[in-house]
């Protein structure tokens, strides 16, 4: 709050300087009140006030803004590196616990479409579109620019749609054996993905799903009861970790 007041006050003062520099009424008022001497050269004084106002608002404020933006972006970069490091550690531990040290896992985040289109689809078409988004430090590279799954009243596309519709942690060991109402285009984009697991991420009140976290792999896997327990535990930890650090 203090910072808001400081910036607003500073901006107001510079605007006031420009205003006095272009308008004789305020300066005349100050002379009438004996605050400013009558002997002052009004035109020269106004010119100085005007250029001071211009210099501050045209140079000082933009420089401060640029400095702040650079600082924020540097801090974001450090934060993203830290996220990526934690993610790497998490997967190291996960692979260790399920004895799949050589398998590679990828993370994807899907977000329900918002805005007017999202609202329209939900209210009128009774459907939700889950769109792939990229979150720095968490999401892995996906070769296609977009991938989306639709959740309708009686069918949910993909394991992602299923996790959303059922509000469940879903695991499929062999995606090629299940179609999940997916279109040919969606199947082709998934390419060689064999294993997939998806879990919903909730808002703070736990009243709404704000995203679906998916972890997939090209390797086919089979889990016994013990590995299943460990996988569930790790997925919940990972979802909680993403939930805590990402503002979706």
């Amino acid at each position: 709050m203090k910072e808001y007041v400081r910036i607003l006050l500073f901006s107001f003062v510079t605007s006031l300087l420009i205003f006095i520099g272009k308008n004789k009424v305020p300066l005349q008022f100050l002379i009438d009140q004996d605050i400013v001497s009558e002997e002052i050269n009004m035109d020269l004084f106004q010119t100085w006030l005007f250029f001071t106002g211009i210099a501050v608002s045209g140079l000082w404020i933009p420089i401060q803004y640029a400095k702040l933006k650079n600082k924020t972006s540097a801090q974001f970069s450090i934060f993203n590196d830290l996220l990526a490091y934690n993610k790497e550690n998490h997967f190291k531990h996960l692979k260790e616990s399920i004895k799949e040290r050589n398998s590679e896992f990828s993370t994807r985040i899907f977000k329900p479409e918002g805005g007017i289109i999202g609202w329209w689809n939900k209210q009128i078409n009774k459907s939700v579109t889950l769109k792939l988004i990229h979150l720095e430090g968490i999401s892995d590279t996906f070769h296609y620019r977009n991938l989306q799954f639709e959740v309708r009243k009686n069918e949910a596309e993909g394991l992602i749609g299923k996790a959303y519709a059922e509000e469940a942690l879903c695991v499929d060991f062999d995606l090629t054996s299940n179609n999940y109402f997916m279109t040919k285009a969606q199947q082709s984009k998934l390419g060689n993905v064999r294993f997939c697991s998806a879990i919903p991420i909730y808002n703070n009140k736990q009243s709404k799903i704000i995203a679906i976290l998916a972890v997939d792999s090209d390797s086919q896997m089979t889990f016994d009861e013990e590995k299943r327990k460990k996988w569930e535990e790790q997925m919940i930890y990972y979802a909680a970790f993403v939930d805590k650090h990402i503002n979706i």
């Binding site: 190291k92 260790e96 469940a168 879903c170 299940n178 909730y202 919940i236 930890y237 979802a239 805590k244």
Partner: protein, 54 residues
């Protein structure tokens, strides 16, 4: 000096792969015990989550 370590002339010790793995495992174990507390609020959301295997 331990058989798992070697040192160069400047006196800095280079850890063997085995030792590095042990240290990594130790760090991971510590990390796991800390994250329960750190992520407690978020983990609570998944207390009764349904699990579906296909």
């Amino acid at each position: 000096m331990s058989s798992q370590q070697s040192s160069n002339k400047s006196g800095t010790a280079k850890l063997s792969k085995n030792k590095t793995q042990k240290i990594e495992k130790g760090i991971l174990r510590k990390m796991v015990s800390n994250r329960d507390v750190y992520l407690a609020k978020e983990i609570k959301k998944y207390n009764n989550i349904k699990v579906i295997y296909d």
